[in-house]
Symmetry: C2
Subunit: 222 residues, 2 copies
DNA sequence: GTCTATAAGCGGATAGAC
DNA sequence: GTCTATCCGCTTATAGAC
């Protein structure tokens, strides 16, 4: 699964200038690194592992990246931009469905990214707590923009009256994102992304509880 | 924060035989390993790191553990048993509150384990995807028992009529556990475990939406 | 039981041939 | 641009003194 989103990595959005050999190799290394990082973590992966997955040699990586840290930073940067773009596209496509509809679309898109779309999203979620501090600090700057985008989605839905007001909205957002992100730790998925997002959206918006059974009332019966 | 649950590690439950020097050292090494694994992952941690945290030398670890793999396996085993015990205690204490009340108690207890109780839980969640395959396979055997315990909690709540029947209950359980587990990835927690469990239980049982929440009824209960 | 010393090998990174 | 060869520090693990 090769990604050629030059709107993301390149400097000339929209233009179809063919990739140079060097750019193609660089991309192949990034893709391989994402795949290997996603399955084995950060520290557990050697540059020889990555080179082998990219069908080249460890020494050759240094023509494209100055260090392992710089390579992983590029992977994380690509990952967050790709996820953000995928979610933004889904939200834009649901533009006229109201804030609650847009939030649901975002939840579906983010889950899709984690579960099936690319190794970049999986690598991002799996290794962002294992990387050197300076790399993480730079990465957090990009990640924060994505978090704030989600904050806006939640705020809009609440302003629309679709979210109850007795919730800490930041906390709610982090918990919902956590439920999606943790799917990266599931073994081979027995469920389709559709069934997962459907179930998650039901739980998030309506809860698992039945309407007619009230917790306090149930307790009072005993 | 040292743990002396000999019901878990030892063979003689309930009896207060003093720990031998060797047992105490072994426990100190385990505690230190859990702490270091929790913050730096598995592959990124050297035996010197662990030894240093336990105030001893790398070579000395081999008197207590045959290999790094065996050490991490002991950490994971302790972690899962401690979490399971903590949740079971909370559920037992809520025995007469109905199945839904017991499930809420379990959610609170599991979140507590992840957020503040021990380094073991954090290490478990952070590294279980990074360890060698054979270690993970043995670990999964123990983890499965814990998963089945949660499955029973959800089943009981549904049988009681407290959970809507249009949900894939296994999927719901995994998503709810995921929301809790992902809190391990949060930076320094700005929230108390109480506010987190309160918000999470609201979302899980009632959802974030306003559609099916009877505001009058909620207010009347307080 | 714990230490020091060390073996054997893997890690990131560099130099220089092609 | 990519390769091979290599440096050198760090890793797990062992041996043997105390």
């Amino acid at each position: 699964m090769v990604h050629l989103n030059r709107q993301i990595d390149g400097a000339t959005p929209g233009f179809a200038r063919p990739l140079s050999k060097s750019e193609r190799t660089r991309q192949r290394i990034l893709d391989s690194a994402a795949r290997v990082f996603a399955s084995k973590g950060f520290a557990g992966v050697s540059l020889r592992d990555i080179a082998s997955a990219a069908d080249t040699k460890a020494g050759s990586l240094y023509y494209h990246f100055a260090s392992k840290d710089e390579l992983v930073e590029a992977v994380l940067r690509h990952a967050i931009e790709e996820m953000h773009q995928h979610v933004r596209d889904a939200v834009d496509a649901a533009a006229d469905e109201g804030a609650a509809g847009r939030l649901k679309a975002a939840i579906s898109a983010h889950t899709e990214s984690v579960m099936e779309r690319t190794d970049y999203a999986k690598a991002l979620l799996r290794i962002s707590s294992q990387i050197p501090d300076d790399v993480r600090e730079r990465h957090n700057k990009h990640a924060r923009a994505y978090g704030e985008y989600w904050g806006q989605l939640f705020n809009d839905a609440r302003d629309e009256g679709a979210i109850r007001v007795d919730l800490d909205l930041t906390l709610a957002r982090l918990l919902v994102l956590g439920a999606m992100n943790w799917t990266v730790e599931w073994p081979a998925s027995l469920w389709s992304p559709e069934s997962i997002t459907s179930t998650l959206n039901k739980i998030v918006f309506e809860g698992i509880g039945t309407d007619d059974v009230d917790e306090e009332a149930v307790r009072a019966l005993h």
